[in-house]
């Protein structure tokens, strides 16, 4: 197993070493390609490359092809694969590691809205210290397809009318220290 490091990898690092270097990706080498992950996945029929195949592609070094696919972005983090995996490689965590690498390499697919949604969530959480769900959703729709918001408007209105959609974000008190922590973490993690 490669030594666990978090820093962005050197150019000569192999794809599988790169996956191993992200927390959660360490155990990928133990995969025996049994396919129970794909068989267990509730969304696998939407993936360009379903979980078993995605893992095989890491081992084959097909970096750009996999990282630019929609595959891991369909992982709903249900962890069924993870509790069933006979080799304990934690496939869901590997999918999250692949997402991290796709973002870091600028390869995230444009064919799924999930990468944009995740980024909107992160911006909201970082901006206030707490997630502001309404703001995040508005941003997601503006950045993807504003017209698709119309379809979901009744859901949003229902939540609003039931007092479940506050119109103002909540901010934590210790924003200054929180921001210092997150700025430092961004530098250490090689983020933009």
């Amino acid at each position: 197993m490669a030594e666990t490091m978090v820093e962005a990898p050197a150019a000569e690092m192999s794809f599988i070493d790169e996956v191993c270097s992200v927390p959660g990706g360490e155990a990928i080498r133990s995969c025996i390609q049994c396919g129970i992950c794909t068989g267990s996945c509730p969304t696998a029929n939407n993936w360009d490359y379903p979980p078993r195949r995605a893992i095989a592609m890491v081992r084959a070094g097909l970096r750009e092809e996999l990282l630019s696919s929609n595959s891991m972005w369909f992982c709903a983090s249900c962890y069924t694969c993870t509790v069933r995996c006979p080799r304990d490689i934690k496939p869901a965590d590997i999918m999250h590691a692949l997402e991290v690498l796709a973002v870091r390499s600028g390869l995230s697919t444009k064919h799924s809205r999930t990468p944009v949604m995740y980024q909107c969530f992160v911006d909201s959480a970082k901006g206030n210290g707490r997630v502001y769900e309404l703001g995040m959703m508005i941003k997601l729709f503006l950045k993807t397809n504003p017209f698709s918001a119309l379809k979901l408007a009744p859901v949003g209105l229902g939540l609003f009318l039931h007092g479940r959609m506050p119109l103002k974000p909540t901010r934590i008190k210790g924003m200054k220290d929180f921001k210092a922590i997150m700025d430092k973490a961004r530098k250490l993690g090689g983020g933009k």
């Binding site: 069924t80 999930t114 995740y118 997601l140 934590i172 250490l188």
Partner: protein, 288 residues
Amino acid sequence: MKHYSYYPGCSAEATAIPLGISVLPVAKALDIDLAELEDWNCCGSTPYNSVNKVEAGAMAARNLALAEKTGLDLVTPCSNCYVVLASANTHLKELPAFREQVNEALAAGNLTYSGGVRVRHLAEVLYTDITPEGISSKVTKPLKGLKVAAYYGCQLVRPNGFDDPEAPHSLDEMVTSLGADAIPWEMKAHCCGSSLIMSEPDVALELINKILKNAQKHGAQCLVTPCPLCQINLDAYQSQVNAKFKTNYNLPVLFVSQLIGVALGIPAKELALSKNIVSPMRVLAPYL
């Protein structure tokens, strides 16, 4: 009285506010002291962990560091916060290089984390520390005759569960302890699609439909779940499922704390029952 450090999570103050409101009177009635973690921040959730691991680690660890100062177990009612905080905790314990980086970031905010916190889900605390028998002893309005589908979702029981990851029983036991009938059904720990409802709604709506269909087939009058994301998907998006699949579900989806509260005789207002999208008043009327 049992004491815990309490981490509500962002949605308990917004889209899942019925959870945030109902937990408090129920905890009080069960002699549970939930001391809210001072100035907690977002756990980072799955999105942050899919974008940048060190930032996600720092975000979760700020909460863990604050909780460590209290010396109490950190309890959250949110299944996603639970998985994210517990996974960060494990990574911080097992990966020294990661821990070092995260602690370097925390130092910029004058905090440090040494790995001493136990992260727990409120449902697990209710089951393990309070126990179904303990809950049962406080019931004043037994939910006799109410058919409930206990819906665990995923992250309460996977990957770090205290219960069977695929055939869990803890919620069923709690439902039974309230005098209600926990119906047997197959989809109790299947995925509702979680946040894919926002980015890939067609995929999530199909999963939600399968769950509602199965609950209805087995005669459930309502569902009960501990998870904010599951509750929103099954409750707020039920009308979208009806429109898309030409179904006519009218299945209330309660938070576990709301159902326990009804059986403990806590007034409907304190349980925020009017904030559920599919009104539970019809099926709960005999017990209120």
